[in-house]
Amino acid sequence: VDARTARDVALGGALGTGMRLVVVLPLAAAVGGATAGRILVANLVGTAVLAAVIARADDAPAWAARVPFLGVGLLGGLTTFSSLAVALAVLLEGGRVRAAIALAAASLAGGVIVAMLAARAVSRAARSA
């Protein structure tokens, strides 16, 4: 990781973290559970945008240069795995198995679907441009 990349990732990471902080802020729950739905939304939105950025970067060098800031930093920092995994564990601990399965399924199926749709939309737009 060169200095420029590190700087871009650091800036983007701070910004993405700030956005996520706003999303989870009614923060009674750095303790999981209540924020799970908000985390899900942040994760899916971030995944769709990242898929679009990466698809664009495939054939546009100007976008490839934005990946450290926008992709790795901002969108990587906005979205999170740890909160999701802990939210699932907390749901299971409370015996809420169905809610845990629903959250896991919505996250994974939703993530894969929005990633594919966003990438497809961007490459189609690029082809027709």
């Binding site: 995944t47 990587g76 802990v86 601990e93 894969v112 990438a119």
Partner: protein, 132 residues
């Protein structure tokens, strides 16, 4: 959570800084794993490593907060800031989809092992720590 305004500003700034640190550490781990392995598709292992490590940190923060060994300010900085940004959902999912789409992975492996498997493992790690 009630905090004084100055305290709130400091917590937010510290959380942003911790998020920077987490994101840079993630980028470094992923780049290092990729370089050592000599192929781009190995980056998924780097992401798995930071995701599972960050999950352990987040679960530990939750436990410590419940037991009142950690105040809310530190919990937010370390949990939301550092562990939140060290781990990633978007990079994890997009990498899996792209690697499978490009034929570098089979779809069953990408979906079953790298997505479902990693999430199950993360949940197990968190469960063990939370249940302590």
């Amino acid at each position: 959570m009630s905090m004084r305004p100055l305290m709130t500003v400091l917590v937010v700034l510290a959380t942003l800084a911790a998020g920077s640190l987490g994101a840079v550490l993630r980028a470094w781990v992923v780049a290092t794993v990729q370089r050592r392995a000599g192929r781009a598709s190995a980056r998924a292992w780097g992401t798995a490593a930071v995701n599972l490590a960050g999950t352990a940190v987040m679960a530990s923060v939750v436990v410590a907060t419940r037991e009142a060994r950690l105040g809310p300010a530190v919990a937010i900085v370390v949990g939301v800031g550092f562990a939140g940004a060290l781990t990633t959902f978007s990079g994890w999912v997009v990498d899996a989809v792209r690697l499978a789409g490009a034929g570098a992975r089979s779809w069953p492996r990408a979906i079953g092992l790298e997505l479902v498997g990693q999430l199950a493992l993360g949940m197990a790690v968190a469960s063990v720590i939370v249940a302590r």
